[in-house]
């Protein structure tokens, strides 16, 4: 079974956000780029399934500018077999435009499973996976926290408010992965060396018209400085008073 893993390169979670000169996107200067943390779970789960089936191929796909090749190399070092770089330099394209480009590339591969992270930690969209599923007309389960492959189907669990839903899915299908699904591996030195010889195909693509327009990227107003009520248990009565009388929250 061929498995596709869609991965996004994002700014490190420690990044202090600065707005670029266009007023709409992140200023990339000084930013460290990482593999989107949720996508690590997707790569890991694909690799585990390939190992369990002892057959098949894992293809990592990423859409973005030149720097994305490093992130694809990460996935190859973790163990993916080959990579496809959909090259487009538009900063933060909208989810539907990305989903359409990914869907076009994925269709030709006829995968058994397409993996996504549940959300990219830059735009926090949580959209692309379900959109691709819809565009490919494939069954889809988002925010998967447990995955069990059983031949032509998979039994998975996803978190909902106050509990979990158990879902039975006919393959081929699309999944988006949540934290807790697995413990992603670190690339081994051997993996890193092997990755250097694995192929990354670069393919220039167009994104079409804009479906959601970002007019501005703004920094939040800083929270008004709070105050230290006091020290130790002696401060508790005053805390309770301000929560009741000032904040009116209890």
């Amino acid at each position: 079974m061929l498995q596709v893993v869609c991965i996004k390169q994002v700014a490190d979670t420690e990044t202090r956000v600065k707005v670029a000169a266009d007023g709409r996107t992140l200023d990339p200067s000084g930013v460290t780029w990482i593999l989107n943390p949720y996508d690590e779970f997707a790569v890991e789960e694909a690799l585990r399934l390939k190992a369990k089936l002892a057959t098949g191929e894992v293809v990592a796909i990423s859409l973005g500018g030149a720097s994305v090749a490093t992130t694809l190399r990460n996935a190859l070092a973790m163990g993916a077999d080959r990579a496809l770089h959909l090259r487009n330099d538009t900063p933060s394209p909208d989810a539907l435009a990305v989903a359409r480009a990914l869907a076009d590339a994925i269709r030709a591969l006829a995968p058994g499973i397409v993996w996504f992270g549940k959300s990219a930690v830059d735009d926090d969209g949580a959209q692309v996976g379900a959109m691709v599923a819809e565009l490919l007309d494939l069954p889809c389960v988002t925010v998967v926290a447990k995955f069990d492959h059983q031949g032509a189907i998979a039994i998975v669990e996803r978190e909902i408010e106050g509990g979990r839903e158990v879902v039975e899915v006919a393959l081929p299908a699309v999944f988006t992965t949540d934290k807790g699904l697995n413990e992603p591996r670190y690339a081994s030195l051997k993996g890193i060396m092997a990755a250097k010889k694995k192929p990354i195909e670069e393919r220039a693509i167009d994104l079409g018209a804009v479906n959601l327009e970002v007019e501005a990227l703004e920094l939040p107003a800083p929270r008004a400085a709070g105050r230290i009520i006091g020290e130790g248990a002696a401060a508790v009565p005053e805390l309770v008073r301000v929560l009741r009388e000032e904040a009116k929250v209890i």
Partner: protein, 323 residues
């Protein structure tokens, strides 16, 4: 032009987040004109007319025997059909587990953009704009919709429900749609672990979270007792989740849940940037930490410096005395 609202139900109960979406829809309808129309997917009508009290003028009822549980593929077909029928200016979803799954499917079907997890919606003339947190709340995007309709999902607990209009009924109308339920699909076959009593983290009015300052899983009883006294839900930092003290579902932050309760109490949590991402939009933040330099105090409205093992039991006792 109308505003369409996806009405989310589980087990025949309309979920509170849908009343929040109806509340925002009534405000938009007031400034743009036009009715508020709900669309609900279910296997039977469990009193949808009463959504009139929450602001719906009309409810389209998409009935299917498979809709007793959530079915993303089928729901998407029905909601897209509702859009075709009423040609709304905007479609509102809750950014809940269900809404986050459904809204992008509907967007892809309709070929329009989606603004997810919005914290504010406004009109500029007849243009709709929305504000949504990105980079886990470290910044906000202001977005506009070049295509119609505008699709938005709304962060739970941010938008106010409309004042109840007692006795007002919505007109309930069946929504015909064609969907082949025999095609291969994802089927919900069961659910687990719905812990009774406490609301979900993302929908709770009050959240009490514990961090590594608690020293061990056994001491989380302190956090639970305070949460019980406040009627709150328990959250956790990633450090304690990764250590296996608490389940993943309780993690608050960039790689956990994003919460916006009216009161957030951080107990023994340092306030790393990834944790702040998940809770800094809370209305009131209280921090209890022995280190006066802990970054959590920079976002807290009120703080107590000191040993949580003394402070938390005293706070629990004081809160209990209020009732």
């Amino acid at each position: 032009m109308s505003i369409l609202v996806f009405i989310e139900q589980r087990g025949g109960q309309v979920r509170p987040v849908s009343r929040e979406a109806l509340g925002e829809a009534t405000r938009l309808a007031a400034s743009m004109g036009g009715p508020v129309v709900g669309v609900c997917c279910a296997d039977s009508d469990s009193g949808l007319a009463s959504l009139g009290e929450a602001g719906a003028d009309q409810v389209l009822f998409a009935q299917h025997e498979a809709f007793g549980t959530y079915d993303g593929a089928g729901y998407a077909v029905a909601v897209a059909e509702a859009v075709r029928k009423v040609s709304p200016k905007a479609v509102l979803f809750a950014a809940s587990a269900m809404g986050k799954d459904l809204a992008p499917r509907v967007a892809a079907r309709l070929g329009v953009g989606l603004a997810s997890d919005c914290t504010a919606v406004a009109t500029e003339g007849d243009k709709l704009v929305a504000r949504r947190p990105v980079f886990a709340g470290k910044a906000f995007q202001k977005v506009a919709f070049p295509l119609s309709p505008a699709l938005l999902s709304l962060r739970p607990k941010v938008f106010a429900v409309a004042a109840t209009q007692v006795g007002r009924n919505a007109v309930v109308e069946p929504l015909p749609f064609t969907w082949d339920a025999s095609a291969p699909r994802a089927r919900v076959t069961g659910s687990t672990g719905a812990k009774g009593g406490r609301p979900d983290l993302t929908e709770s009015e009050i959240v009490v979270s514990g961090g590594r300052g608690l020293k061990g899983p056994e001491h989380f009883a302190l956090v639970e007792q305070l949460a019980d006294a406040l009627g709150a839900t328990v959250g956790a930092s990633r450090a304690v989740v990764d250590a296996g003290w608490r389940p993943h579902g309780e993690q608050v932050g960039q790689t956990g849940k994003v919460v916006s309760p009216k009161l957030y109490v951080a107990v023994g949590i340092s306030g790393a940037i990834q944790h702040l991402a998940g809770m800094s939009s809370s209305r009131c933040i209280v921090a209890i930490n022995k280190d006066p330099e802990a970054p959590i105090f920079k976002v807290a409205d009120y703080g107590i410096v000191g040993d949580l093992f003394e402070i938390v039991p005293a706070l629990t006792a004081a809160v209990k005395q209020l009732h």
